[in-house]
Amino acid sequence: MMKKMQTNEIFPGVLILLLGIAVLIKLINPNDFQPNAERWSSASFDGLNIIDAEEISENRGSFKIINLDNSSSDLSLESITIPASEILEKQNLKEIREFKGSIVLISEDKALTSRIWMLLSQMGIRNLYILE
């Protein structure tokens, strides 16, 4: 009877704990898509996610350029090259998320920058722009 009682107490407790962990992981996972796709794509509806070189030059310190395909950039700003295929690597995502200013994506291929912008935005990355 005592043994049965203990099993009845421990098993549900363990189950709840495991499910609780699953819930937490799902809710706080920064490398998953955020709910409400419309909210995270809203900047693209009015072109608010497009930025020009002049604006970047005026506020040099607060922008970081991410070059998705080794394309040349005339902007003499802090920039890093992250091939598009590696943009979701943990280290790269961490660097993007931890940067306090705005991130600007550049590439020779406009389609590529648009796709990567949408992908990263849907993962909850704010202050993300595409260079016009």
């Binding site: 998953d32 796709a37 992908l119």
Partner: protein, 207 residues
């Protein structure tokens, strides 16, 4: 008393387990939230096969290819001014409010077009993330379409068979597009409505 306690505890446990399952695994508003593995979406985003050239789209239009469905993401006014015959207009700003299930999950592959590459590619990623994998983008948008299909000419003394076929298709589509766009807006809208009814019939929908 002890038996009643165990039964109550079991009930509470069961309720908690069910609540946790609901929280963890049943999304509240899946229609508007991207899901799936971001790495898989990235792989699709980098796939060159997901882009069609204007010539490939022109060939499909000229041949009445029913395996593709052109979705024009430009504004309604731009669409009425000038559009590809047979295309469906869903302005990008209303893309996520439209009936994506019937548009993207019913037979033909969707081909997104916009003025240039931006909006079509945004929509492509959104569609992929919402579970609609059978879609592509026309590279360069209507700008490239106009440059290559509508306004290009052959300059040279000799033309290869391939080039000849290419220019013939372009010429045929040019005529189709110009004829269609010379119609008054009311007739264009009627044409689109008829196409929509036919599409829904093929999909098994009601008029």
């Amino acid at each position: 008393m002890r038996m009643q306690t165990i039964t109550s505890r079991t009930k509470i446990t069961f309720l908690l387990v069910v609540s946790a399952l609901i929280l963890a695994f049943i999304p509240t508003n899946e229609k508007y939230s991207m899901h799936g593995n971001p790495h898989r979406i990235l792989k699709r985003a980098l796939d060159q096969q997901s882009c069609l050239s204007p010539d490939q789209v022109a060939k499909a239009v000229a041949g009445g290819d029913s395996t593709i469905r052109i979705i024009d993401l430009r504004s309604k006014s731009d669409f009425l001014k000038y559009s590809i015959p047979g295309s469906i207009n869903i302005p990008y700003s209303g893309f996520l409010k439209s009936d994506l299930e019937s548009l993207l999950n019913s037979g033909p592959d969707a081909v997104f077009i916009s003025d240039d590459d931006r909006e079509a590619n945004y929509a492509f990623v959104l569609a992929q993330g919402l579970g609609y994998h059978e879609c592509r983008v026309m590279k360069g948008g209507m700008n490239e379409w106009n440059r290559i299909v509508m306004n290009s000419s052959f300059f040279g003394e000799r033309i290869s068979a391939r080039e000849n076929a290419l220019f013939e298709t372009r010429y045929k589509v040019r005529n189709m597009v110009n004829e269609f766009n010379s119609l008054p807006d009311s007739l264009k809208i009627k044409y689109q409505a008829i196409r929509e009814i036919e599409r829904k019939k093929l999909d098994g929908g009601c008029e």
